[in-house]
Symmetry: C2
Amino acid sequence: MRVYLAGPEVFLPDALEVAAAKKRICAAHGLEGVFPLDPPPAAPPAERPYWMRIYLGNEAHIRSCGGLIANLTPFRGPSADVGTVFELGFMRALGRPVAGYSNVAEDFLARTRGFLGDAARPRADGGWEDADRMGLEDFGLADNLMVDGGIEAAGGGFERAEVPAGRRWHDLAAFERCVIRLAADARGDQWPSASSA
Amino acid sequence: MRVYLAGPEVFLPDALEVAAAKKRICAAHGLEGVFPLDPPPAAPPAERPYWMRIYLGNEAHIRSCGGLIANLTPFRGPSADVGTVFELGFMRALGRPVAGYSNVAEDFLARTRGFLGDAARPRADGGWEDADRMGLEDFGLADNLMVDGGIEAAGGGFERAEVPAGRRWHDLAAFERCVIRLAADARGDQWPSASSA
């Protein structure tokens, strides 16, 4: 099965090395990893702007894959990279298996409170809000409930690991757990660990 | 046409008032606004956790709608709320019209540089990178290219406005421009303004 490797690693100077490492792990478990920077199945129309050709290429990649693994490690804020989350939602709507991982283990609430600092304020009902009086999600999840829920609804898993900051974009242990999940799914096995909901 | 009203307003203390105002604007243009907090078309299974019932309700809402308007105003970082972006990607994959708006007009690059502060560093090639050496997108877009691209691919528009911070979650002028776009689409009109790509 072809698996789309969504994540902000495309922004790294060594993106192609990360892509190669992820593809090796996929291959070791019988899957074919597809990286966003790979040539798309068909060339997007040359007259579209460069950024739109990238978009159309990624969309074509996702449609060509039987599953998706998203790197949901927090990116410039308390949540995952929005490009990655767009792709996760897209693949969920196609009804194909998705899994996700984060190399930061802390809950979404704790991370959001850390990000907001003194701007996070307790509410009378025991919850928290920000300076705009917008509530903070507090479900013990890894990110916004649409992210965790989309993975859960697709039968996948959200794998969390606590990786030192210097290795956060390169440690692939949690990624490999996602690969093992999707490989079992592609074989029609039961999921290797019970779903949490 | 039913239109799903995606956005982080669900976190506001006056979320239901914002929902009512958006629905009034939709109705004035012949559309039916559907807010995430509305009762879903079918009740999610009672045995699922509360957060998962919210997820499943939102997914059912989106599937029941003919279009989506996303509030993509930056939320706790340089990008839009990830829950909203998940829903945008989901609806794009269903092939139905989507539009988006932001009440912050500044480009994504300028916003990301502002967020990173001194951690944003120039690259030798003229681009910018963060402290992890990850590149900053520089396409003159409103957000990550997957967000702008998904809207563009669906034939919609990304409406930007510069709204003072105190009115950022309540000003609906850019939202109304999205409603006008989707209403024209539902009638089979040409788009009211030319697409940029």
